[in-house]
Amino acid sequence: MTTSPDPELSALLDAVYHRYHYDFRGYAEASLRRRIGAALTHLRCPSLAELRERVLAEPRGFSELLRFLTVQVSDLFRDPSYYRSLRERVVPYLRTYPSLKVWVAGCATGEEAYSLAIVFAEEGLLDRTLIYATDIHPESLRAAEAGVYDLERFARFSDSYRQAGGRGSLSDFYTAQYSSAILDRRLKQAILFSDHSLATDVAFAEVELVSCRNVLIYFDRPLQDRAIGILRDSVRRKGFLGLGAKETLRFSAHAEAFTELVPEDRIYQRR
């Protein structure tokens, strides 16, 4: 068994960090390798060394690589039971606050933030809520801000919305135009999209709920601890943290800072 990281891979990630200040050095290696392998093929690069040279020579080469380094996959109401549990178990607490802040960390193209906005709208909380949604991928943030998705995906999204305990119809929240679904202005107005990295930035703001799903899976254990530390510092006492369906605080140094509120949906409450 080799545990030493591949020196060419390290050299590429070091170069990306020093030149562009994106830090992928603590990412989980197995899937990072696959994605970089795909980048080599797609960018017709024979070796990691050559890829490094190309990335250093031209910022365009870097933005192409960035598309491979990050995984821009998301859905409205992905894992419906998560949103159902938020609605049933977390919203009753949130109601007691006169104003609310929510942070969606690693929002990709925005689906998670919009799903939360829909839940909050239906629960009558959206008017007093500000949702911060952050990511490191500029193209995704632009797409998220636009809030326009393929209409094709909405049959599936509608099913998930209903399983998540939706009170009306998902179509109450978008307008169909040709092959697109344009999300409602009142959802967009509640969300502020911006750039933030869990690998290099510090705590974001003090919020009542942090939702950070399927982002930590891309980090190795030490980077997970750094990121979870930031999430912890951003949740007010008795506030909430929701993770992805297969993510857990169990292996984290910060597990003690939280209690498990809905273990099966990975919803935690700050002590």
Partner: protein
């Protein structure tokens, strides 16, 4: 084969593979020490469904691993629906929602290739019945790393496409019926004395 020093087993399959697994898992006694990781292509259903079915067949603890869960002996790990399951070099699992590979998530190739990188010659890969070619590439990587390769014999597999694709591309060590795969795996490691399945 007695000279092989296997530390982990990875298993993949699609149509027909659930029956094959049901035929081979009972061959592994309680306390069988090696960890096993399984990817089966199934239509995405309730998260724990596959695990529950396999639990009735295996005398080893069986579960879907969480992200970064350390790999421990005497356990059957099942890839959760809609995630790729990967093995890290530090001998823990990672999950990812990267796009499907060959239309599959979880992908057998993704598990096999990452496990081959992590375990090198100490890995055994098993490819069962299935209707597509996922896994052939992964078994190739296991063979290159010096690991042991096993497929369900296409002659007896419910759907032979998957093992046949692997046989075409890789020099496979054993192509045998599902029950015989169980016997082979059982011989790779003697059960630990303290081992009692829970």
């Amino acid at each position: 084969m007695a000279t092989r020093n296997i530390h982990m087993i990875v298993i993949g399959g699609s149509s027909g593979a659930l029956d094959a697994l049901a035929a081979l898992l009972p061959a592994l006694p309680p306390g069988y020490p090696l960890p096993l990781a399984v990817v089966l292509h199934l239509p995405p259903t309730q998260p724990s469904h596959l695990v529950e079915v396999l639990r009735t067949k295996a005398s080893l603890p069986t579960r879907e691993p969480d992200d970064k869960e350390p790999i421990v002996p005497s356990t059957v790990y099942v890839a959760p629906p809609n995630y790729h399951l990967l093995v890290e070099r530090g001998r823990s699992f990672s999950l990812s929602v990267d796009r499907p590979v060959l239309f599959s998530r979880p992908s057998i190739d993704v598990l096999f290739e990452s496990a081959a990188d992590a375990f090198g010659p100490h890995l055994a890969g098993v490819l069962l019945s299935g209707a597509n070619e996922d896994g052939a590439r992964g078994l190739g990587r296991i063979a290159e790393a010096g690991g042991l390769t096993i497929v369900e014999s296409p002659a007896t597999a419910a759907v032979p496409i998957m093992p046949a694709a692997a046989l075409q591309r890789v020099a496979i060590d054993h192509a045998v019926p599902a029950a015989a795969i169980g016997t082979l795996l059982a011989r790779l490691a003697a059960p630990t004395r303290s081992g009692e399945a829970t």
